[in-house]
């Protein structure tokens, strides 16, 4: 994504250019949607999150400052907060009380509302990944998704999640380990078949 083009489009949309707003939306909708989709496991939640992200952008209620970082990462940060907020409201999972270093990375209550996503992602490997992610604690899940799916750097993830880089590194390590643990039966099964 070209950050300069993003800023130009943002300036134009603030001046009332609907085409610029549409272009900006189309540049970022897929990434934000897939992030929210994999994080929440629910397409309707992901769609709501994307809509809310851009509603905030067009009303300028987030006060985005181009000097403080890239627009794309800023939007991911907003989407992350919205997904977490939505999950809290719906009590799909319980945040581990002990913080980063005291749990095994698995959420205590697993997302159970992801059937539409299972239908959407008609792929066995992806379905297993989705199930494994759903069992991951959210604060590991967002770091892992941003790193693995969106190929964000530690620095970018730290900016998006408002974390120290060391925390990002720690969460990513634990999240990947927990994910590998959750995927182990599937991988063993796949290996047997092969």
């Amino acid at each position: 994504m070209n950050e300069t083009e993003d800023i130009q489009l943002l300036r134009a949309l603030r001046l009332g250019d609907a085409t610029a707003f549409q272009s900006l939306y189309r540049r970022h909708r897929s990434g934000l949607y897939s992030f929210a989709l994999l994080h929440s496991g629910a397409p309707e939640v992901a769609a709501d999150v994307v809509q809310e992200v851009f509603m905030g952008l067009l009303s300028d209620s987030y006060g985005f400052d181009p000097l403080k970082g890239m627009l794309a990462n800023f939007l991911y940060g907003v989407a992350r907060n919205l997904v977490l907020s939505h999950a809290r409201q719906n009590s799909r999972w319980v945040q581990p009380a002990g913080g980063d270093d005291e749990d095994d990375g698995l959420a205590q209550i697993v997302d159970t509302a992801a059937e539409p996503l299972a239908r959407l992602l008609d792929d066995e490997a992806v379905e297993h990944l989705r199930r494994a992610l759903a069992g991951l604690a959210p604060h590991y899940r967002d770091v892992v998704i941003l790193f693995e799916l969106h190929e964000k750097s530690y620095q970018e993830i730290a900016q998006i999640c408002q974390l120290e880089i060391g925390t990002v590194r720690s969460r990513l390590s634990r999240g990947r380990a927990a994910l590998a643990q959750a995927l182990a039966p599937y991988r063993a099964h796949a290996k047997d078949i092969a």
Binding site: R29, S30, S34, M55, L58, A125, E148, R187, A190
Partner: protein
């Protein structure tokens, strides 16, 4: 080699697990439903709808334009005061020239100079006649008589006039 058989935590040569590669390709073209974009564009259009003219003025804009207007007035007044005064009209010059003696010439200077033995005559003249002679006098009552002194040539031609001071 099986796609899931990797030596280090099942991650491939790019450091990505195959499940992530599958997810990436599955989600590459994913996008929110069209109604999301439509709702956003409606909200955008509503937010940026043209406002009626009387709502386009906020207090800052009004204050700015009022300040600009006031400054313009001041500059216009200053500019006008710096302009040289326009030359007085012939009529005014004639009155001012005669101010010392109080006479207003009603003939050309050549005829005035050529006049021999002019005499002073007293007369009561209507205001309308004085106005016709070019005397700066209010003609709101044209028939009212005004006492005047006339300088008359030997031929009887009136040369200059002076209104009597009450």
């Amino acid at each position: 080699m099986n796609m899931f058989d990797f030596e280090d935590n099942h991650y491939n040569g790019n450091g990505r697990a195959p499940e992530w590669e599958a997810a990436r390709s599955a989600l590459a073209q994913s996008a929110p439903p069209d109604h999301v974009e439509q709702a956003l564009l409606r909200a955008f259009a509503k937010r940026h709808a043209p406002r009626p003219w009387y709502r386009r003025w906020d207090i800052d804009a009004v204050a700015s334009w009022a300040g600009i207007g006031a400054l313009g007035c001041v500059l216009a007044i200053v500019g006008m005061s710096l302009l040289p005064a326009a030359p007085p009209s012939v009529r005014v010059v004639r009155v001012l020239a005669a101010a010392d003696v109080g006479f207003v010439s009603i003939v050309s200077p050549e005829r005035m100079a050529a006049a021999v033995n002019p005499q002073l005559k007293q007369a009561d003249l209507p205001r309308s006649a004085l106005v016709q002679m070019g005397i700066p006098i209010v003609a709101d009552a044209p028939d009212e008589l005004v006492h005047a002194e006339l300088m008359v040539a030997a031929t009887g031609e009136p040369l200059a006039i002076r209104l009597a001071v009450n």
